[in-house]
Structure formats: structure tokens, C-alpha cells
């Protein structure tokens, strides 16, 4: 690649050395042929004419300190020579990755920032080999990963766990929500076909108007309940965070449900996941309109149910969890748009 590219460069640029500035500010001279093996450096030289003198040294990304640069350049120096056999290259690669694990991670990061894909693949394969077959404790040890999952840790997603009544209750509530959302969807689709069959929409509207003149899309009290719950959540932050947490739990635990509900869960929840992971088009909560129309008795019942549920959840989580939950408070509005399946989900 470097030969073709250098052909395009003006003669003044054909110096054998270019200047690179590493993350610690120090500037060094490197053979151009070798440095150009890295796509990022190549780009800088060709597109921006950088690197020809000390003053316009190419600023390398912050992951590249002098030690890392020298390792990456060693790799480039070996591989940019065209005459080597595959066997030679492979054996060099194997020797190259014999280094401390933390250095390996640093090199991976440096290579990635320089867009040097072959080196990234090599080092990440080496890291994968390190991780493979080891127990979690060993892995944490090697990479110094903090062990901050004491409660959730027990909920390993692949194992069967004893039936937790809270999980079942949560699943039931979610199932109800999903049903409501589904009905809403159907309704939406029906409205979209207005021109095709007006009669059905009119029927629906009159049905809706009969119950509640102000709501746009919902036609049952269940929908009100769901919207209500959302409002509730905005008031009661500990509830929603607990629900969010249980969503994680549920995600972890749903596997064990062999009942039809779970299978339905499996189908529907995954069906409606939008491509880029955002849930923009579902949010349809006209909060302002709803409240005034709900039957107060029903409202109370719902409030009680929800708070009871919240209390049951909260009572079993240790202090630390509460802290974690309260720290999520700021992310109110983005956190709790529900997707079609009714899962409260985070905008990561």
C-alpha cells in the first residue's frame, strides 16, 4: 500500500523520515516506509501533508505512548517487508504477543487508534486465548477487573434459578403491558388504513369516545393504567429504578421459563426491536390529557398496586443497590421510554 501511495506524493515529500508526536508530547523521527504501514499515519501524510518536519509532526492519538509506538513499529517493520513467507510471519506474530497482559491491552488499544487492523486482530486473538477456559475469578485477577456484581452475580443468565415470585409478578405485568401495546399497535395500523375502510375506524372512535372522550389511541382501561403507571414512575423514582433493575434481572432470568408465556415473550420482545436500538417512534404518552379522565377509584387501586410492588422489590435490595438506583435519578426522561414490548429500557 505504501508504495502505491508514495507514488502520488510530491517529490518534496519523499523524505525517508517522518516526525511523530506521541501522547506524552515527545517528538521522534521514524522511517517513513515503516510508519506508513499504519493507515492513520498514512492518511495524515497524504491528506494533510503532515509529518515532514519537527514543526508539523503528526500528533498520534493518546493511546500511543513511546513504548507502544515502538512495539507497533516493530510489528510494522517486520511485516512491511514483502518477501516473507506465511510461516515466518506466523511465527513472528506468536512471539510478538508474548508480553504482559496489560501491555497487550495497551498495544491493542494503540493499534486500534492507528487503524492497524492486522495488529488489532492479532492482539485481540491473543487476549481471547487468555480469557478462554478460565473461571471468572481468574479472569478478574488477570485483568484487574473490579468484582462489583455481588447480588446480580448470582443470577447467571444461563443457569436455571428457583422461581422467584417477584419475577413472576413482574413478568405478568410486563405481559399485560405488551398486550396493551399490541392492541395499540393494531389500532394504529387500523387508523393508517383509514382510506381503505373508514367504517372500522369510526366504530373504534365511537367506542373510544364512549369510554373516554379525550384519549387518542387507547381504548381500554388497561392502557390508562399503563400510562398512569408511567406517570407514577416519574413521581416515584425508586420504583422505576427498581423496575429497571428487574428488567435486567428478568433479562437474565427469562430463559428459565418454559411456559408459553416465556415463549411468547421470546417472540414478541425480539420481534419489535428496532434496528439501531432506539425506541423513538413508540413514545405516545400524552400525559397531560390522560390524568383528568381516569376513574379515581381505579386510579387509587392502580397506585396501591404499584406502590406495593415497589415496596416488595425495594425491601430486599441492600443499601448499595439503593445508591446505585438513586444515582440513576438524573436520567429520568431518557431512561423510561418503553419499547413495544413494554420493557423499560435504558438508552445506553
Amino acid at each position: 500500500m505504501s508504495e502505491i501511495d508514495t507514488a502520488v506524493i510530491k517529490p518534496e515529500m519523499m523524505k525517508p523520515y517522518i516526525w511523530l508526536q506521541t501522547s506524552d508530547g515527545s517528538i521522534q523521527q521514524v522511517e517513513q516506509e515503516i510508519a506508513m504501514f499504519c493507515p492513520l499515519i498514512c492518511q495524515e501524510v497524504i491528506q494533510k501533508n503532515m509529518g515532514s518536519s519537527k514543526n508539523c509532526a503528526i500528533c498520534l492519538p493518546q493511546q500511543v505512548n513511546p513504548a507502544m509506538l515502538s512495539l507497533v513499529l516493530d510489528y510494522c517493520r517486520f511485516h512491511q517487508v514483502p518477501g516473507r513467507s506465511n510461516k515466518e510471519r506466523k511465527s513472528y506474530d506468536e512471539k510478538f504477543v508474548r508480553m504482559d497482559t496489560n501491555k497487550l491491552c495497551e498495544v491493542t488499544s494503540a493499534a486500534d487508534s492507528l487503524k492497524l487492523k492486522p495488529l488489532v486482530d492479532l492482539t485481540s486473538r491473543a487476549l481471547a486465548r487468555i480469557i478462554e477456559g478460565k473461571s471468572p475469578e481468574e479472569i478478574r485477577d488477570i485483568f484487574h477487573i473490579p468484582d462489583d456484581l455481588t447480588e446480580e452475580e448470582k443470577l447467571e443468565p444461563l443457569k436455571n434459578i428457583t422461581d422467584d415470585p417477584r419475577i413472576r409478578l413482574l413478568n405478568r405485568l410486563y405481559a399485560k403491558k405488551r398486550k396493551e401495546l399490541k392492541e395499540r399497535e393494531k389500532l394504529k395500523n387500523v387508523e393508517a388504513e383509514e382510506r381503505v375502510d373508514e367504517r372500522s375506524v369510526d366504530d373504534l372512535l365511537s367506542f373510544i369516545n364512549g369510554k373516554d372522550s379525550d384519549q387518542k389511541g387507547s381504548k381500554t382501561s388497561k392502557n390508562k393504567k399503563k400510562n398512569r403507571r408511567k406517570k407514577e414512575q416519574q413521581k416515584n423514582s425508586s420504583l422505576k429504578e427498581a423496575s429497571e433493575l428487574n428488567k435486567e434481572e428478568v433479562n437474565g432470568n427469562n430463559v428459565r421459563h418454559q411456559s408459553s408465556e416465556a415463549i411468547r415473550v421470546g417472540e414478541t420482545s425480539n420481534l419489535d426491536y428496532t434496528e439501531d436500538g432506539t425506541f423513538n417512534d413508540i413514545v405516545d404518552f400524552d400525559d397531560g390529557d390522560i390524568d383528568d379522565e381516569i376513574d379515581p377509584a381505579l386510579k387509587e387501586k392502580i397506585d396501591r398496586e404499584v406502590e406495593d410492588f415497589a415496596r416488595r422489590l425495594n425491601s430486599n435490595w441492600p443499601e448499595r443497590m439503593q445508591d446505585f438506583l438513586s444515582s440513576g435519578r438524573e436520567r429520568n426522561t431518557t431512561l423510561f421510554t418503553t419499547d413495544r414490548t413494554g420493557f423499560l429500557s435504558r438508552h445506553a
Partner: protein
Amino acid sequence: MGDVLGPDFISDLPQSIIESILTQLPIRDAVRTSILSSKWRYKWASMTHLVFDEKCVPLCNDRDGVDKSIVKFITSVLFLHQGPIHKFRITNSYLQSCPEIDQWILFLSRNDIKELVLELEEGEFFRIPSCLFNCKKLTRLELFRCELEPPLTFKGFMCLKSLNLHQVLISPDAIDSIISSCPLLESLSLSYFDSLALTIRAPNLKYLNLEGEFKDICLEDTPLLVELSVAMYMTDDIAEHFEQSSNCNFFKFLGGVPNLEKLVGHIYFTKYLSIGNPGNLPIIYNNLESIELYQVGFEDMNEMLVVLRLITSSPNLKELQISQGSSNMSSATDAPNMDFWAKKCPSDSTLGHLKVVKLTDMCGVPQEMEFIKFLLGCSPVLEIMSIAPCVHDMENEMRMLIELVKFRRASTKAEIVFTRE
């Protein structure tokens, strides 16, 4: 501790690196990383490559139990997964056809699946649900032991580059239409089809591999074909069909592939090509550098003609490998046409680039020796000719060697290597 990345030096690496690491782990280990720490909880869930191979669940003696646990495992992985899935591959010999697979394919069809490989080993063939045909972004499809029936409204996989069907039940019209409706198709492999009559129209096709009982194959529109590998099995029906056929198979098959670089033929391929009269249309394969033909019947003049034609139409041929395959050579020696090669071959033909020749299963009959003589005499840059006899028979081998030594060699560098088992 106290590196550039902080005390924990792996969890903060960019997601693309983590993905690269996780996809190089067996899937079970990758999913297990979820309990490393809170940051790692869902790193695995956005992997875009999911490969379920033999090791994805621990084995035990109960075959049914293993099957169930595989199904559970895959279902739960898919359920917990977030984000697009580009590559999905199941190659597990314990997994039998079951209704859950339908659901998985449905799920994948809604998650931008690009590469799908389904190798189900045991039991009855799995009927592929129609949602597979909604996977608009599919670039690679490999199916083993399935039943495939494209819906009437199927317009084709617009992005499909590689198609590999192995023991797949599908109607001939359907397979024709699938192939011709995938405009970007570059690599096609069809194995173990029964009595298939195929017309292949694939303007971008580069690699073709066919294996099975084919009644009739016509490469109608494959101008870019680079590599062709055919293993043709024969049944009595097909043999009869051949006798009665008036087509010129050579032309139908190799008439439209001027860019061919490598040709491999097994079993009855040369016999198939020998049927019909190719006429005198000169087709030159300028790029054909490697020819491998197995089970060639040397006693059949027509097959020899095919071989001759191939060799002389390939001016840049570098490697030739021929394996003899007649069942009984002894009965074939009635009045051999000794001047066959001298007559049929243009006198000034030289195989100007032929460097390596490998002949196996040679019996030493006159037809073979003539062929060797021809090759030696026409290859000025020949470097190695290796000959392996089919049966270890001292006398026969001695005879062959004595004859070989007499042959003129056009190349001063030619080495004849006689390998004995």
C-alpha cells in the same frame, strides 16, 4: 496498576476491540463474561457474530438431553441479545430439527442477518420457514439437510454472494430461479442433489462447485467463472439419458467460460463431457492454468478427445493432474489406436507453460503410455512429471519404466518421478 487505562485495563477498551475479542472466544466463554463486572454485563450481548459449534454445550451421555440444552442455550442467547446479528452459524451434530429453529430464523430475519449457516445433522430434514426469504441483507447462505421452498413472491436475495446447499430438497425450477435472481452471486455450491437438470444463469459467478447426480447441466450465462469443480455421479437412468442425448455437453458446459482458471472434474465428468460432438469451434481458455481430472477412462477415445481438447485449448496451462479410472483396463487393448495422439494433435502444438504433471492410477496400457509420450514431447518447460502406478506389480512397473526411458523429452529440466506405493 496505574497504567494509561487505569487499574482495570480491559473493560474500557473500545467496543470494537471487545467485540473482536469476544467473537474469537467460544460462545460459551463469551456469554460467561457477563458476570465479570457490571461493565461486562452486556458487552457480550451486542456481538454480531454468533457461532454455535460442537462445544457450545457440555456433553453428556443422554443425547436427547444435549439436544434440549442446545435449544435452550441458543434460545436464551438470542433472547438476551441486543443489536444486529450479522453472522449466525449452527454446526452441531446433536441438534435435531425442531420448531424453535423457525423462531430463531424469524428473529434473525428481523436483525439484519448477513451470513447464515445451518448444519443440522440428524433426523429428518428441516423445513426452512418462509421468513428466511425476507432476509434482505443476506450475503452468505449455507444449508445442510433442509427443505427449501421459496414463496411465489420471492424476488431474490439482492445481496447474496455465496450460496451453498448440501443435501437440500428443492424443486429444480426453484433452484434455477433462486440462482438467477441473485444478481451478485459469486460462489455457488450444490451437493448431493438427485437427478438435477440445471441451467445456471449467474453473470457474476466466479466459483462453482457441483456434486451429485446431474442429468443435465448448462452454464448459460457465467462469463466470469474462474473456478469450476464438478463431481458427477452416475446412475443407470442418467447413463441412459446420456446415450440418448444429442446435445454437445462440452459446449454446453465449457462453452461460455472464457475466464476459467481452474478446472476440476471427478468421477464421470470427462465421460459427460465426451458426449456429443463439439464441432470445430475453437474456444481458447487463456487463463486456464490448472486442470485436474479424476477417473478418466483412457480406453474411451471420446474421453481422450476431451482431454486433448482441453489441453490444447489452454495455452497457459501450468499444472495437469490426471487420474485413471477405468474399471478394467485389460479388456481395452483391442487394436489400440497407436497414432491417436500423433493424428489428433496438431503437429506444432506445444504446451508452452506446462510445468507440473501428475498422473496417478496408471496401469501401463498403451493408451496411457502414448499420452505420456505426447506430454513429454510437447512441454518445453516441464519440470516434474510424477507417475504413480495403480497396482503394485513388479513386472508391469518394469515394463512401464523401460518404455518411459525411451521417450523423447522436450524439456531439459524434466524430472520423471515414479512413485511406488
